[in-house]
């Protein structure tokens, strides 16, 4: 069948094809993003998620980061920036831990990298615990760095423990020993304080009631 694009029906058919094409990215979008984010942000986040999928990286952590940003009132630019950062760390983690790394390991590794761990530390841990999961050691490393244990000391402790074949419970005990004082949660408020006004007095001279 030959479609005459000059005819009204033909133009309609052509327009329908175009609409379908433009709607395709929405069809593939994670419904949670579409429901919670502005459409422009959701499309950009989905683009990053597609990149992650192409690189065989877990996508749910990226979706969660977007939803976290939305629930905490972040604007689109901030959300995109956060996801780009997380995507970069997940890529680095995959590169160091290898294709067999689980989603949980990649998330823990990304947290450790954000806390200040060197990418080479991931590779060393992988080689020290070749057949054991790395989630807890990586989480403990991230924890120690987060609470302010000096990076060298944190890494040395985790590496030594990994080299002795320590269990997850022993890693958690190490964390509790080195980071016994949890950091104080200071004020965290996006909203700056409001302007103050001097106290206001009463109107002058109330009159006698009739």
């Amino acid at each position: 069948m030959r479609i005459d694009l000059r005819a009204p029906i033909g133009r309609l058919w052509w327009a329908g094809l175009l609409s379908l094409g433009s709607a395709l990215p929405l069809v593939a979008q994670d419904p949670r993003l579409a429901a919670r984010l502005p459409s422009g942000t959701a499309i950009e986040v989905q683009r990053l998620i597609d990149l992650a999928e192409r690189d065989n990286l877990p996508t749910d952590p990226l979706v969660q980061k977007a939803l976290e940003g939305e629930s905490k009132g972040a604007d689109s630019a901030r959300i995109i920036h956060a996801i780009e950062g997380l995507l970069g760390r997940l890529r680095a983690a995959r590169s160091e831990l290898g294709p067999e790394a689980t989603e949980a390991e990649l998330v823990a590794a990304a947290a450790a990298l954000r806390a200040g761990a060197l990418p080479t530390a991931l590779d060393t841990l992988r080689s020290l615990r070749r057949d054991k999961p790395l989630v807890v050691p990586l989480s403990v490393l991230a924890d120690l760095l987060t609470v302010g244990v000096p990076a060298e000391e944190a890494w040395r402790s985790v590496r030594e423990m990994a080299s002795t074949g320590a269990t997850d419970a022993q890693f958690l005990a190490l964390r509790d020993r080195l980071a016994s004082a949890p950091p104080k949660a200071g004020a965290s408020n996006l909203r700056p304080p409001a302007p103050e006004r001097p106290p206001a007095g009463s109107p002058p001279g109330p009159a006698e009631r009739p």
């Binding site: 949670r32 969660q64 980061k65 939803l67 976290e68 939305e70 629930s71 905490k72 009132g73 972040a74 604007d75 630019a77 901030r78 920036h81 956060a82 950062g85 997380l86 989603e103 949980a104 998330v107 823990a108 947290a111 806390a115 989630v135 807890v136 990586l138 989480s139 403990v140 991230a142 924890d143 987060t146 609470v147 997850d168 958690l172 949890p182 950091p183 949660a185 200071g186 004020a187 965290s188 408020n189 996006l190 909203r191 700056p192 304080p193 409001a194 302007p195 103050e196 001097p198 106290p199 206001a200 007095g201 009463s202 109107p203 002058p204 001279g205 109330p206 009159a207 006698e208 009631r209």
Partner: protein, 405 residues
């Protein structure tokens, strides 16, 4: 849809929002004593002062008022409604759009409403910041223009704020005399500079908010009254000037203390000296008020008390179910609701169940690994659960980290 319909739709949206992420604060003060009134040495006998604040994401709405009863004299009432919207990124620079309306009613003052709107530019970090702003509006006598600048810093539970503002307004002294309109006064657009009254306020505020106490201390000085209307006695609010004399400054101070007996009931004491306010024809003077403060709905010191009392947060995998866990929060007493959200709830609030005095529990699907979590008490701000490792997330909020084996 008509504009009225749009307004109604907007209000419905706002009303619906508290279910998810809004913070609502409301309290009412029932007080004895109050402000003096000039010329009679009388103070109000009792007062009632409701206040409401509603915050969702970047929008904040606030309203407060006070009704003062003088017994056998006519009452006075005052109040304000304000809206603020933060614009821009989560970086150090923020814009803010603000609008405020005020009203004052009293027997010998000019009852009416004043409004102003404008913007502020904030430069802020987590614990310190500054801003500059400008607002234009209209008061009882004509157009007003105000600029302000402030610097603030938090030291743990203490917040310090230095602030300066300057307001230019039509001088009511040239339009009014003895409470009556001065029909001999020329129109504003034909007047010289002396018809514009400029008021400059400088002040320092200190707020301290440990779990059971809210304390505000303030000290300031008001400059610049080019002319004082003869019919309005400004008393010692302007130093020792008698009516009709030019005054240059007025000092003021304030101490406001609330002690929370329970999360929803507190005792409030307020003492100080208010400055004269020629725009409203208010003389200022010493004031003392003692009040009972009752929190309506959520708020009060409950979230802070619960946060300070909460002793532990634990996540335990459920036996026989590798992808489910039980969250337990202990010690969070004095609140009606505890919610939790994290990367395992799609960052949507999920209500925890009270299972004992201060004990809250929740069972959810949860895979082993590293998870991020926040809790909030009675709709207050999201906090890291007690005892968890705390990180500053990409959105500059504090988030708890838990490891599930």
């Amino acid at each position: 849809m008509t504009s009225r319909g749009l307004c109604l739709f907007g209000l419905l949206q706002l009303a619906w929002t508290p279910i998810t992420s809004a913070q609502v604060r409301a309290h009412v003060d029932l007080g004895a004593g109050g402000d003096p009134v000039s010329g009679g040495g009388r103070t109000s006998l009792w007062s009632i002062a409701p206040a409401l604040a509603y915050q969702v994401a970047r929008l904040r709405l606030e309203a407060a008022g006070e009704y003062r009863d003088f017994g056998d004299l006519s009452p006075a009432a005052s109040g304000f409604a304000a809206a603020s919207y933060l614009a821009g990124g989560n970086g150090p620079v923020l814009g803010e759009i603000v609008a405020t309306a005020r009203f004052l009613s009293g027997p010998l003052t000019e009852d009416g409403v004043a409004w102003e709107g404008g913007g502020r530019l904030h430069l802020r970090k987590r614990q310190a910041g500054l801003w500059v702003g400008s607002e234009a509006g209209h008061d009882l006598h004509g157009a007003t223009l105000r600029w302000e600048a402030a610097a603030w810093r938090r030291f743990g539970q203490i917040a310090l704020q230095l602030q300066g503002s300057q307001t230019a307004a039509v001088d009511p002294g040239t339009r009014k005399a003895g409470g009556l309109s001065d029909t001999l006064a020329p129109q504003i657009d034909t007047l010289g500079a002396r018809q514009v009254r400029t008021i400059t306020d400088l002040g320092v505020w200190l707020h301290w908010s440990p779990p059971r106490v809210d304390l505000a201390l303030a000290l300031g000085r008001r400059y610049g009254f080019p002319e004082v209307a003869g019919g309005i006695s400004l008393g010692d609010g302007l130093g020792q000037n008698s009516p009709g004399e030019t005054a240059t400054r007025s000092d003021w101070w304030l101490a406001d203390l609330t002690y929370w007996l329970t999360p929803r009931l507190g005792l409030n004491g307020r003492i100080g000296h208010s400055p004269a306010d020629p725009q409203w024809g208010v003389a200022g003077g010493a004031f003392l008020r003692v009040a009972v403060r009752a929190v309506v709905g959520r708020g009060g010191s409950g979230p802070r008390l619960a946060e300070s009392r909460a002793t532990g947060f634990a996540v335990r995998r459920l036996a026989g179910n590798p992808v489910a866990a039980q969250f337990t929060l202990n010690g969070a007493r004095g609140v009606e609701r505890v919610e939790l959200m994290g990367d395992f709830t799609d960052w949507s609030p999920v209500e925890m169940q009270r299972t004992g005095e201060g004990r809250w529990e929740l069972r959810l699907g949860l895979k082993p690994g590293l998870h991020f979590v926040n809790v909030r008490y009675d709709g207050g701000p999201w906090r890291p659960p007690p005892g968890t490792r705390v990180i500053t997330d990409e959105f500059e909020r504090l988030t708890g980290v838990v490891v599930v084996e």
